[in-house]
């Protein structure tokens, strides 16, 4: 097992290197670059010295060097832990990510836990009560969740809360609490504001988990060992929880591999809609603004987490199912 893990880690180095190249090329693909547009903006607004500033910035970021040269410089710094500077914010990428990481995780970890807990519970209930009224209702809910992306659910929730309460919950805080010191009221305000994004993300996430859980459990319940367990008099509760559910978990454990990366980027569009100062909107903005070092770093960070997550998921699967061996 240990050997397998080491082998996987070694393989992931070239994979990440190729992803870095793909990421860099993708970021370089759009025509023009950030500085050109920035200078055009400055000139349009009639500021003097725009051209000099442009030349200075181009030199600073080596924008006139060929792309492969910049890539080599960038990746060289990258492995030493220097991710470069953001054009837009004029700040190190590391600082920007570090600033936004806590809030992002504070939002996404509860989303993940709640949606998976509800999804698994409902999925099991749905499968064990197939074709009952509750199952049908849950199925409809699940299909709504699958058909409406989380960002649209968020928009619907914004309109709905506005219709009901007359307040608009976007951003992190209401105006009066934004600059106020931390207090219970401020926390309550924060919770109110986070309710919409959490609700939207949980709704979509739950729908998917529920469908997968239901489908797999139904498949498992048809397998002979379930019949054998029932035949020898194992209580139904044990049959479901100890035997069938445990085996139905496989696809979910596989999906867990993507969760690490999801925690940082999966809710990006919802965060963008609500206007939260999290990583998702930062990445979307960086992509649109061609802030290549910022978007490139986030992309590689996410990919690394995905590689790591998939490895953890495979190890987890082996722990869950003794039939799976990797050596």
């Amino acid at each position: 097992m240990l050997e397998y893990i080491i082998r996987r880690l070694l393989i992931s180095i070239p994979i990440l290197f190729i992803i870095a190249i793909i990421g860099f090329v993708t970021m370089e693909l759009p025509q023009g670059d950030y500085v050109t547009r920035y200078i055009a903006q400055l000139e349009a607004s009639g500021q003097s010295g725009a051209r000099e500033r442009g030349a200075e910035l181009r030199k600073l970021y080596q924008l006139d060097d060929p792309a492969y040269k910049r890539f080599v410089t960038w990746i060289g710094r990258f492995v030493r832990g220097d991710f470069g500077d953001s054009f837009y914010y004029q700040k190190p990428v590391k600082t920007l990510i570090a600033q936004r990481l806590p809030l992002t995780l504070a939002l996404t970890i509860p989303c993940f836990l709640i949606s998976w807990a509800i999804g698994i519970a409902f999925g099991i209930f749905s499968a064990t009560h197939q074709y009952s009224l509750a199952d049908n209702v849950l199925t409809v809910v699940a299909f709504l969740g699958l058909g409406l992306p989380a960002f649209l659910v968020a928009l619907v929730l914004i309109v709905a809360t506005w219709q009901i309460t007359g307040d608009v919950y976007t951003g992190l805080f209401s105006a009066e609490y934004a600059a106020a010191p931390w207090s219970l009221a401020k926390i309550a305000d924060l919770a109110k504001h986070l309710a919409i994004p959490v609700g939207a993300v949980v709704f979509s996430g739950m729908a998917w988990v529920m469908r997968v859980m239901r489908g797999n459990l139904l498949d498992e319940l048809r397998v002979n060992y379930v019949q054998a367990a029932r035949a020898k008099g194992v209580p139904e509760r044990m049959v479901i929880w100890r035997h069938a559910v445990r085996n139905a978990f496989h696809p979910l454990v596989m999906a867990l591999g993507g969760v690490l990366a999801w925690l940082l980027s999966g809710t990006a569009i919802v965060e963008q809609v609500i206007g939260l100062p999290t990583l998702g909107p930062l990445f979307i903005q960086a992509t649109m603004e061609q802030d290549i070092y910022l978007s490139g770093t986030i992309l590689i960070l996410l990919s690394s987490l995905l590689v790591l997550g998939n490895l953890l998921a495979d190890v987890g699967l082996a722990l869950l199912d003794p039939r799976i061996r990797y050596d």
Binding site: P30, L146, I269, G275, M288
Partner: protein
């Protein structure tokens, strides 16, 4: 040629194997180990034993002995096969044996009994159905799948006749009706039910909010005209006409889903926008399918270096998170391209991210089939590689690929919606549902005109319908599961 034994073994799909022995005392054995084959063992002279045996489903096994003293044994070991044992002359013994359910047995000795026509039972009729018919039967019993199918057929029809269904063109602006709420259609006037009509509306500026409000003018009445002339357009892009499903006479106007900030009718724009939203997913899936099915088949069949390269490539792509990669690639589509190019650019972006998963699934199926006897048989009969891939392997993956493709379409439609919503996908002047939702991105606009969320409803219905159809196809693709 006596005591000669002719044995042929056919294992495989859509293959017909005929073993035939023309002289006496022979034993003819035709055997098919896998599905969909027709096995015919025929012995034309006496004292022969004809054995046709089909070990798996969906095969037709026919053993026939045309002269006397023969023993005809037809045996089908698994379901859904048709077993016909026929002995045409006397003194023969016809044994038709089906070991499992749903097969039709027809032992017949012509010299002794003439087959009496009789009505088949439901089960027997089912047993005679081909795989395709069985799939359709199973699919058509799935009410959700059929509903989804009907909804989709309806939506695609509307899409085709967008100009007829939409009262206005995609870009017609009504300056007097900026951000107007949906027009109310009235049926009751002076306490009596009348032909549906709408009131003319006058706009006023709210003195408090400085927003435009629209007040119905009860003196102006515009009845709805169905299939009546309006703006000129080209039906299906070919025939110039001015007939619309419903319009109201000038200077009245009807916006059943309100208007946007430029005074364009949202309903018309949704209908026109479906031309992009409903097709970009199909084009994307087609591209990703072509690439995925091709590389998956090649990778699974040849194995070795090719397999390694393809698998590692897929691994790399699958290790980049989907949504960020979509965003980054979509941002790379130049915004100054002409609309057609942007449309295909976005379709390519959608497919570039998803082909890997498809290729993996196809590879898995091909890997399983590669070692099967019918491929070996094809190889032994000097079938060239291309023919084996194109005629034997690809058709076998077809039903699975169809399922995978159908289930991939919703993801593509949602992807296009998300990208266009962010302003990275389809861009104006092209119109898709995502582009229409883009207006709702600003919360201020959203609250002023909540009807701008209506396109989401169309996305929802389409995606759910595709999911229903996909689930139905998945169940139907394996018509024996759970029976």
């Amino acid at each position: 040629m006596s005591a000669w034994r002719c044995s042929i073994r056919a294992s495989g799909t859509i293959e017909s194997k005929v073993a035939r022995s023309e002289t006496g005392h022979s034993k003819v054995v035709a055997r098919s180990e896998t599905g969909h084959s027709k096995v015919v063992a025929r012995s034309e002279t006496g004292h022969s034993k004809a054995v046709a045996r089909s070990e798996t489903g969906h095969s037709k096994a026919v053993a026939r002995s045309e002269t006397g003293h023969s023993k005809v044994v037809v045996q089908s070991e698994t379901g859904h096969s048709k077993v016909v044992a026929r002995s045409e002359t006397g003194h023969s013994k016809a044994v038709a044996r089906s070991e499992t359910g749903h097969s039709e047995r027809e032992p017949m000795t012509v010299a002794q009994t003439a087959p009496a026509p009789r009505k088949l039972s439901e089960e027997e009729r089912r047993a005679l159905l081909s795989v395709r018919q069985l799939m359709w039967l199973r699919f058509s019993r799935n009410r959700l799948a059929i509903t989804g199918m009907i909804v989709l057929a309806f939506m695609y029809t509307v899409m085709l006749f967008a100009g007829f269904v939409a009262p206005y063109s995609v870009s017609t602006t009504h300056e007097r009706f900026v951000s107007a709420p949906p027009t109310a259609i009235h049926l009751v006037r002076d306490g009596r039910i009348v032909w549906p009509f709408v009131y003319g509306e006058t706009s006023k500026t709210d003195p408090n909010t400085f927003r435009k409000i629209y007040i119905p003018n009860t003196n102006e009445i515009y009845p709805l005209n169905f299939i009546a002339p309006g703006e000129t357009y080209k039906l299906v892009g070919l025939i110039e006409t001015n007939l619309h499903l419903f319009v109201v006479g000038e200077p009245g106007s009807i916006f059943i889903m309100g208007t946007d900030r430029n005074g364009r009718d949202l309903f018309s724009r949704i209908i026109w926008g479906s031309q992009i939203s409903l097709t970009v997913g199909l084009v994307g899936v087609l591209l990703s399918l072509t690439l995925g099915a091709f590389l998956g088949t090649v990778s699974g069949y040849f194995g070795g270096t090719i397999d390694m390269v393809v698998q590692r490539t897929i691994e790399v792509i699958s290790n980049i998170p989907q949504i960020p990669l979509w965003l980054a690639l979509a941002a790379a589509v130049p915004s100054n391209w002409d609309p057609v190019k942007i449309y295909f650019g976005i379709a390519i972006v959608l497919s570039l991210v998803t082909w890997g998963g498809l290729a993996r699934q196809v590879r898995g199926i091909v890997l399983g089939l590669r070692e099967s006897d019918f491929v070996t048989a094809a190889r032994y009969t000097n079938c060239d590689t291309f023919r084996i891939l194109a005629r034997h392997l690809l058709p076998n993956t077809f039903s699975h690929v169809l399922v995978i493709a159908t289930l991939a379409i919703p993801g593509m439609i949602l992807g296009e919606t998300a990208l266009s919503f962010l302003g990275l996908g389809i861009r104006p002047p092209l119109t898709s549902w995502g582009v229409l939702l883009n207006e709702a991105q600003q919360v201020r606009v959203l609250l002023q005109q909540p009807w701008s969320l209506i396109p989401a409803l169309f996305v929802l219905v389409t995606v759910v319908s595709f999911n229903f159809v996909g689930d139905g196809l998945r169940d139907a693709a394996d018509p024996f599961a759970g029976e």
